[in-house]
Symmetry: C2
Subunit: 447 residues, 2 copies
């Protein structure tokens, strides 16, 4: 009997690209390779010639001028607040909050506001290469529903505060509603529901402890604003005798499931608590700069072994949801803050928005790299633009030179959401009208 | 006799726009106005209805979703180095220079390199809304020629150093060649030739004094790298007993015609010297961050009355020539550095790239604002993009939200260079091939 070649395997999709940056293994760039996708997952990453012999794809996408990489993960934001983008800038923090953002929230934030604002954010994020986002805002069940129906992945951290808001009367109701939301999506591949204790200064020890124990019981993530400003840290010391990080550590809240957002104003003891606990830091450099919050010492944290991730924060304090731009800001800022031009290099910065974020979500088996077995969340960026030549190193290019408008394709679970820069699954025309309507009403009330 | 309306005046061009930000007068936004252009100059800025009654334009451009503003002025760069974009990143400053940039310069920089690199830079700058750029590099006569033939305005600061380079043997030859260049363009509306004493640590007192006296005699500008790093300042104190700013002041080099580039590491005495002399500061935030040089205290300088401008620096240390992005970085960074979220607001940031820059060039009669009598250097930015809605304040939007790809039109002296994002006067196809060829050769030599 003679040997015959195995028949090619039928698969859904084969994407080939000039460069592939798989993120894991780290620090490599593959040239003239392909990613094979079937049933929403990556089944191989291999040289193109080999891929063509081995697979019979229903669909082929040849991206000869592009770099392919894992979809980006935006680890902190308030999607609905996109409707407040640029409403009030260049103001001291308390004026911004007291005179603009909080009155506008009281007046306008309801289910419809959250639905429209979230969809606008999702459109911008998919356009910019994001495939998973984390959110913390009122009416999280609406955010979850909009994200779910538009097939983008998300971590929805429902807010818990001591005081009443439009979404609930206090900790008991927030937790009850949040746990219902958790139950609704507990087996979802698309939505992870986590706890969102708003901040140390808005939540007392009792509900903090409840969250610690509930999150452990159901193995859920916790996201909290922490050490955002010097004022916060000083007030905490005045009121509790403890720095906020120390207080959370004593409450048992710092674990590998915990995501600490901002983390400016941190000292060596804070760093040690982060390292020992395995908690993640979510760095939001543009928001920290714009609100004059201070500098997160990212290079120091990275060198100490802290899991570092990146978030845009809400568009009201950024003023965009451009994660490529945020990577650039993070990489540039880390160098000046640490006094070391070699700090936070391009590969490390890309890890923050991919594999490190997947780890923070407890989903590094599924997300964060282009590896066999992972979900097919994949983006392509066109590096052929004449005005960003030459390209010596595609990863350096991604972080320091690329304009987010060069993101050309975005697949989530193997489904194409963006093709040659055009959104395929969002009706921008009807969204535009609703956004214009909100803007007219919000502008009329803002003084 | 009955009165008759005056016949409409024939003009070259009438541009109307949804918003016009003239920059002077400051802090205003005009709605539904138009700019009338004739013979390369602005002859009126007025309400659209009035413009239509008063003028009979040969050409009309109605930009109903756009903001119109003065062309941006990039006050510091090394255009030819665009061919080294991303050649070597994430390295300590001296490794970057010694092992990559300087060897590549020695090997490749000649007239052809400067011509092709400069044209690539000009294409990127025009696409991003720049209408005037300042340059300091070897073979400045080539940079001037390429800029002149492509009808973009420039300030060409010819380099002067103590030591020989590919362009000359020492101060005497640099000055001789530079003064020839000055003579060639002395009456040009397009090219201003200025002195480029490279830095305090590369030029001794003798040629510094010569430059001071020559520049005064011919009323030319001087641009110098100053206080770029802490190392520079400390070495200067060790070697001369003086901080670099103090040394320049004693040499008579600080005048209203002097542009000090970088200015990190400055103390109160340095600020006083800048204020007293009327010298300009050219802030290059992204380069300062990327090379870990430190922070220029822009808000402090602004509040003290120093004329503040903005530059991208070369693409080798940025890695783009996107002045809108640089404005955003400057505005964000100023807040965190000063600890004040109200620092360097959007209007003040826009002034840095327009009227303040025009003042630094000694050309505020011609450039830097949309005012009657000024040269018609005008850009339009399309604010209708669905993914950066809503627009509450177009100036805040320009600084904090706009993507440089939204720059749609660019007129220099009334001539259209960019239309709906397409470059009209540069042959990108042939440029692309030459750039690819340089990149191949440079990559082969870089280790």
């Amino acid at each position: 009997m003679s040997e015959t070649a195995a028949a090619p395997q039928a698969i859904d999709l084969l994407i080939s690209a000039r460069w592939i940056v798989p993120v894991v293994p780290e620090n490599i760039v593959l040239e003239h390779h392909a990613v094979a996708v079937d049933d929403g997952r990556i089944i191989a990453v291999l040289p193109l010639a080999e891929a063509e012999a081995r697979f019979q794809p229903k669909q082929k996408k040849a991206l000869g001028r592009h770099v392919l990489l894992p979809g980006l993960i935006n680890m902190h934001g308030h999607a609905a607040m996109t409707l407040f983008r640029g409403l009030a800038d260049d103001l001291p923090l308390m004026t911004w909050l007291n005179d603009h953002i909080w009155p506008a929230e009281r007046r306008f934030v309801d289910e419809n506001f959250v639905a429209d604002g979230t969809l606008l954010a999702i459109a911008e994020m998919i356009r910019g290469g994001t495939t998973t986002f984390s959110d913390m805002y009122f009416f999280p069940e609406v955010t979850a529903e909009v994200a779910h129906s538009h097939r983008i992945r998300s971590q929805i951290c429902f807010p818990v505060l001591d005081f009443p808001t439009s979404w609930g009367s206090g900790p008991e109701e927030y937790l009850r509603k949040g746990l219902n939301l958790y139950d609704r999506y507990r087996n979802s591949e698309w939505i992870n529901v986590g706890f969102g204790p708003h901040a140390p200064y808005t939540l007392s020890d009792g509900p903090m402890r409840q969250i610690v124990s509930l999150a452990e019981e159901i193995d859920a993530t916790i996201q909290i604003h922490l050490h955002e400003t010097a004022f916060e840290v000083q007030e905490a010391i005045n009121n509790t005798g403890l720095r906020p990080t120390q207080r959370l550590a004593e409450l048992g809240m710092l674990t590998p499931r915990t995501q600490c957002v901002h983390m400016t104003q941190i000292d060596d003891h804070d760093v040690r608590l982060l390292v020992e606990s395995g908690a993640t830091v979510v760095h939001c450099p543009e928001s920290n700069l714009k609100l004059a919050s201070g500098f997160c010492p990212t290079e120091k944290l990275r060198a100490a072994g802290v899991n570092l991730t990146l978030g845009t924060d809400g568009a009201a304090s950024n003023n965009d949801l451009d994660l490529l731009g945020e990577m650039r800001t993070a990489a540039l800022l880390a160098k000046a803050v640490s006094g070391n031009a070699a700090a936070l290099n391009a590969h490390q910065t890309l890890a923050m928005t991919t594999i490190n974020a997947a780890r923070a979500l407890g989903r590094d088996n599924d997300l964060g790299s282009l590896e066999t077995g992972k979900l097919a969340d994949i983006i392509a960026i066109d590096l052929s633009d004449d005005l960003c030549q030459p390209v010596y190193d595609p990863v350096s290019h991604l972080v320091y030179s690329v304009n987010s408008r060069q993101v050309s394709h975005n697949w989530i679970g193997g489904e194409l959401h963006l093709e040659n820069g055009e959104l395929l699954r969002i009706d921008l025309h009807s969204l535009r009208e609703r956004v214009a309507d909100w803007a007219t009403r919000i502008r009329a009330e803002d003084r």
